[in-house]
């Protein structure tokens, strides 16, 4: 069975937030709700200073603490590794949000708009009442991934079935694919490069792999 993961080439990332904006479009999240965002992390002391740009979001962990704590089973894990949320079941208790060590979950209790107290035509067209007062997060664009079989396409290769952030990335930072397939783009990247996963010590077995140097 596939396990879909994302690779993040930190050597390339420039923190431009194009993925952030693309995600906001693709998933119609309200202002301030960024399922994908890029951190800007400074380290060191002048003049020996570094600045790193780090895309973050739901890591689609193989051992997801959010799912374990969820009292309603709204958070679930698919056979292909994607972690999803059933908005019809979720009670919005927020337990998953405090269980997630990646700060990936959002609960929005009232509608917010880009401009003032009225939605734009886009916001009105894309408003999803199901997502009010329940937990939400990056889905790895699972709706797209789900089309792959039907259309005979490959996630991570064909844009139609690839997460929006990956499609949008202008520096070739993000890649998506099947970790179980040794020939997939992500497996190739991970075979050729050194990588880490964030907060791996917490035992979450996260599905985002950060590449930091060649092997």
């Amino acid at each position: 069975m596939a396990r879909y993961v994302m690779t993040v080439d930190l050597r390339r990332c420039i923190g431009c937030q194009t993925c952030t904006a693309a995600c906001r479009h693709a998933n119609a999240t309200p202002p301030g709700v960024q399922w994908r965002k890029v951190l800007d992390i400074e380290s060191g002391e002048y003049p020996d200073v570094r600045r790193s740009f780090v895309p973050v979001g739901c890591m689609h962990c193989a051992d997801p603490p959010c799912m374990h704590v969820c009292p309603s089973t709204a958070t679930y894990q698919r056979a292909d590794g994607l972690v999803g949320i059933d908005y019809d079941i979720c009670i919005g208790c927020g337990y998953c949000a405090v269980a997630c060590p990646y700060q990936a979950r959002y609960i929005v209790h009232r509608r917010e708009y880009a401009y003032g107290d009225r939605p734009t035509a886009q916001e009105e067209a894309r408003f999803d009442p199901q997502r009010m007062s329940v937990a939400m997060k990056c889905t790895f664009c699972s709706d797209r991934v789900d089309l792959a079989k039907e259309k005979g396409l490959t996630p991570g290769v064909d844009p139609e079935v690839t997460p929006a952030c990956v499609n949008s990335c202008i520096a070739g930072v993000l890649a998506f694919g099947d970790r179980e397939d040794p020939n997939s783009n992500v497996s190739q990247l991970l075979a050729e490069n050194q990588f880490f996963r964030m907060h791996e010590e917490l035992g979450t077995d996260p599905g985002m792999y950060y590449i930091f140097d060649k092997k």
């Binding site: 923190g15 952030t20 301030g32 800007d40 002048y46 200073v49 600045r51 999803d128 202008i170």
Partner: protein, 912 residues
């Protein structure tokens, strides 16, 4: 979702919000509502950024649906203008709007297109880099039909752009902008360049790939920018001392290394290095042919530069008879004179600029200079070659890149010269892997860089300097910024006006300098996608001048600080509501190097909002109102809308006497474009382009490099000696003095055969002391600089919430960046509201504490002190534009200055 979606379309578009465009994209339209922006995946094979679009493009949808848009024409009811005045805008019909503007245009034409001072009565200002052209439909045809238009009221361009690079870049290697050949380069020295923030999709894409490949970039700048962050090394250099570092590099190469480390063949045969220099600072010439001479080691004699089969001497002093031709009619005949080569002169000139000297100036250790000099020659791989489309070219994978403030204002000329020279020293100019130009805007024809290459009598590229000789020098400027009079290098192309000292138009309107014709405001001023009241310097002063303009027509998306002074606001259907065809491909600004060329379409994905109109339809009606319809249509037929509508093999010209709807005009343009790309075989029109979005054909990658063209035409790069500049400077000085004009004398000092490094920061310091008193430097102890952000740069998008939100993820975008230790000394904590002041003004914003900035420097990323623009005016961000003076003393010889100013900072009390 709230309801099942009935129809979904993906509509191809382009985004050209910044000079690093175009980006190609699609807009997803669900039941008539634009919902999502995506890359144009079908363009990934032809677009050098894989068909992607940058973060700014994602703002288009909010921009389209913003409730702050103007949806119908408005007219001013309060005749008084000024920041404090309420314009009293009231809605009017398009008929009334055209009637008002039309009457003014007819009245203006009736009085004559030039005013009593000889300046155009009509002026127009558009946003930087020519990018508004890609959204103004056929308005260029209207301007062409009108006749003389003054484009010299700058809104940042000319003074706040990479100005010296534009002018000197075009002079030396047809390089309006300069960049590395990133796909082949291994080593980049970047001085203040911010390619990762302002290089657009293509910049990010190429550099990302190169970094993974192992390209080493060293970033020199006072703060750790996005580009510095993505570089292998950051060198926190003292502001405005880049020229000193570069000269020390030249010193290390020329004065400390053995000659064989350099590309001696390139220097001898492809540059002016072996030319012999006379005692008066001009080339020594063959008395018979007047050709410059070099010393041929094979013949052991002086021979004209183009003598076949020579081995020119690079160094040495030689005795010869020669003619020396100076400025105007100056000439000297020399007998048995001892003369040095240009390269020898260079070595002597560079001798004082040791790394030890540079350490004191730049605050960078001398060891760093020597290490980088050694890396430069090692990485250059002198002798290596690469085959490009069957032609063997030198391969030199080293390059130097500059950013704003380094390549404009005092010291920029010296930086540009040193960069070009450093490339020449290793044979790395305009060859694979090396330092390249991108496009031409001053030289003609502008079709390709290669097309503009012509040899001049001295063996260098011809350059269309504005005349400085006594007979043809223009004593009276044609436009208000006087670029044609004061800046010979600005040339005389349609772009030249905007590339002069565009602050002069504003400055001289208040007070003309000594012995200078009076500058009066234009009778009619059009503005579009520009906001000089925010984006220029000394914005308060500029707003006062703007308020003096008698009649302003603003093509307006929403209210802003500039159209606050307007008489009529005309709202156009914006990015994804209207139609336009543009040329794409070839090589363009920043890092736009394509393997294809062609056309791309912008089209209505959604119904225009309110009563907004397609810009092309507005332009057509204005032309008709002004009685210029025939000329307007003829201008379109000639190609003023981007493509000539006829050739010998096809003819899609418009009937000149008819008001054609936008769709008809662009259908003709599309058919002509199809024919041009297929040599007449295909003539697909607007419907085809609407479906496909773009049409291209492949081109040779040889078009990326200028060296093959020069080699073919036996032309040398004009390095290191600048005889032309020496001559032009002397002549210009004489002309000005003949007219008793002495206020440009300091600037004339920039012209010369070989540049010197001056105390460039000292120029700003002295002016600060002059304006603010002897203790000014204690009062204003910091350098304030700026840096671009990808979310905002060029975008005219300060009213877009998504840009505000996403920029918030980037450090420093919302405040004043200050060194953490220094902030601690001043009692400033993270988020404290601080007040930053110069002798011109004051601005406020939250403090952002960082390690990645020098202790003597502050950084403000945006210019955001809006007071009229909806949404933006509530952001409460700082702007350095309120702090920078418009000053003659801070203007260099090209007419530019730099975004840098001495400031003081103090805690303003309270958190932001």
């Amino acid at each position: 979702m709230s309801a099942a979606v009935k129809s979904v379309r993906k509509v191809p578009q382009y985004c050209y919000q910044c000079v690093a465009g175009p980006d190609l994209l699609t807009v997803k339209v669900e039941d008539g509502v634009a919902t999502e922006v995506e890359p144009n995946f079908s363009a990934c094979e032809v677009h050098p950024g894989a068909g992607k679009c940058c973060v700014k493009a994602y703002g288009i949808i909010q921009k389209t649906y913003s409730p702050n848009r103007l949806l119908q024409p408005m007219k001013r009811t309060n005749p008084k203008k000024g920041r404090e005045e309420d314009p009293g805008f009231v809605p009017i019909s398009w008929d009334e709007a055209f009637e008002i503007v039309g009457a003014k245009l007819r009245e203006t034409r009736a009085r004559g297109v030039l005013n009593e001072h000889g300046y155009p009565r009509m002026a127009a200002s558009f946003g930087g880099g020519g990018i508004p052209t890609y959204y103004m439909g056929t308005f260029p045809a209207f301007l062409s039909a009108w006749g003389p238009v003054d484009f010299s009221y700058g809104s940042g361009q000319g003074v706040s752009c990479t100005h010296s690079e534009h002018l000197y870049g075009e002079l030396w290697h047809r390089a309006f902008t300069v960049c590395p050949d990133t796909p082949h380069c291994n080593y980049v020295l970047s001085f203040g360049g911010n390619i990762e923030a302002s290089g657009g999709v293509v910049g990010a894409w190429r550099h990302g790939k190169a970094r993974e490949r192992g390209l080493k970039r060293i970033q020199f700048e006072p703060h750790l920018s996005v580009t510095g962050a993505a570089s292998a090394e950051w060198v926190p250099i003292r502001p405005k001392t880049d020229a000193a570092f570069l000269f020390a590099l030249v010193h290390a190469l020329v004065c400390e290394m053995p000659r064989e480390k350099l590309d001696v063949f390139f220097l001898k045969h492809h540059t002016g290095s072996p030319y012999l220099i006379g005692p008066n600072g001009f080339y020594l010439r063959d008395p018979a042919t007047k050709k410059p001479l070099l010393w041929d080691l094979k013949r052991n004699a002086a021979v004209p530069f183009d003598t076949p089969d020579t081995d020119p001497a690079l160094d040495g002093t030689f005795t010869l008879d020669a003619l020396e031709l100076g400025a105007d009619e100056d000439r000297w005949v020399h007998q048995g004179i001892a003369a040095e080569t240009a390269f020898g002169k260079l070595a002597a000139q560079m001798r004082p600029y040791t790394p030890e000297w540079a350490e004191k100036v730049c605050d960078v250790r001398e060891g760093t200079v020597r290490r980088i000099a050694a890396e430069w020659v090692e990485q250059a791989q002198v002798g290596a070659t690469m085959e490009v489309d069957g032609e063997i070219l030198p391969y030199r994978p080293v390059a130097i890149q500059f950013g704003r403030t380094v390549n404009n204002g005092w010291g920029a000329y010296e930086c540009c010269w040193a960069r070009t020279l450093l490339a020449c020293l290793v044979g790395g100019l305009e060859v694979p892997g090396g330092t390249l130009g991108t496009t031409v805007r001053l030289n003609r024809p502008a079709t390709t860089r290669q097309a503009s290459v012509k040899i001049n009598p001295d063996g260098f590229m011809h350059y269309p300097m504005n005349p400085t000789d006594k007979a043809t020098w223009a004593a009276r400027p044609k436009v208000r910024n006087a670029h044609d009079v004061m800046v010979p290098l600005s040339a005389n192309s349609p772009w030249s006006t905007a590339l002069g000292p565009t602050h002069f138009s504003w400055m001289f309107q208040k007070e003309s300098p000594e012995n200078w014709p009076r500058v009066t405001p234009p009778d009619v001023w059009f503005c579009y996608r520009t906001n000089p009241s925010i984006s220029f310097w000394d914005t308060q002063e500029l707003s006062r001048r703007l308020a003096e303009f008698p009649f302003i027509v603003a093509f307006a998306y929403h209210r802003d600080e500039t159209n606050h002074m307007a008489d009529v606001l005309l709202p156009e259907s914006t990015d994804i509501e209207s139609t336009q065809l543009i040329r794409i491909g070839g090589s363009k600004f920043i890092e736009q190097f394509w393997d294809h060329e062609g056309f791309a379409l912008r089209q209505p994905a959604v119904q225009p909002a309110g009563q907004t109109r397609d810009f092309t339809d507005i332009a057509t009606e204005l032309a008709a109102q002004a009685g210029l319809l025939d000329k307007y249509n003829e201008a379109i037929n000639r190609g003023a809308a981007g493509v000539p509508l006829s050739s010998q093999r096809w003819d899609f010209r418009l009937d000149p006497g008819v008001k054609h709807p936008a769709a008809t005009i662009w259908n003709h343009a599309c058919r002509a474009a199809s024919a041009e790309l297929t040599d007449g075989a295909e003539t697909d029109g607007l419907d085809w382009f609407k479906q496909h979005g773009l049409r291209t054909r492949p081109i040779s990658r040889l078009s990326w490099y200028l060296f093959p063209e020069l080699r073919r035409k036996n032309i040398r790069f004009e390095m290191p000696f600048q005889e032309r500049l020496e001559r032009v400077g002397i002549e210009l000085g004489r002309r000005l003095h003949e007219h008793d004009i002495h206020w440009w004398d300091v600037q004339l000092g920039e012209y010369g055969g070989l540049p010197k490094v001056h105390d460039f920061p000292g120029i700003w310091e002295k002016e600060t002391v002059k304006q603010a008193g002897a203790d000014a430097l204690e009062k204003y102890p910091f350098w304030l600089i700026t840096s671009r952000s990808m979310q905002y740069s060029w975008g005219s998008n300060v009213g877009v919430q998504l840009m505000d939100e996403t920029s918030g993820n980037v450090r420093g975008s919302r405040g004043v960046l200050i060194n953490r230790r220094r902030a601690g000394e001043l009692g400033i904590a993270e988020g404290d509201l601080v007040e930053v002041s110069s002798y011109v003004g004051t601005t406020r914003g939250p403090a952002v504490l960082a390690e990645g900035i020098r202790a003597d420097t502050l950084l403000m990323m945006g210019q955001f002190d809006h007071w009229a623009t909806p949404y933006a005016k509530d952001l409460k961000k700082p702007s350095m534009n309120s702090l920078i003076p418009m000053s003659m003393a801070l203007t260099d010889a090209t007419g530019s200055s730099a975004d840098i100013v001495r400031v003081g900072v103090r805690k303003a009390g309270g958190a932001h």
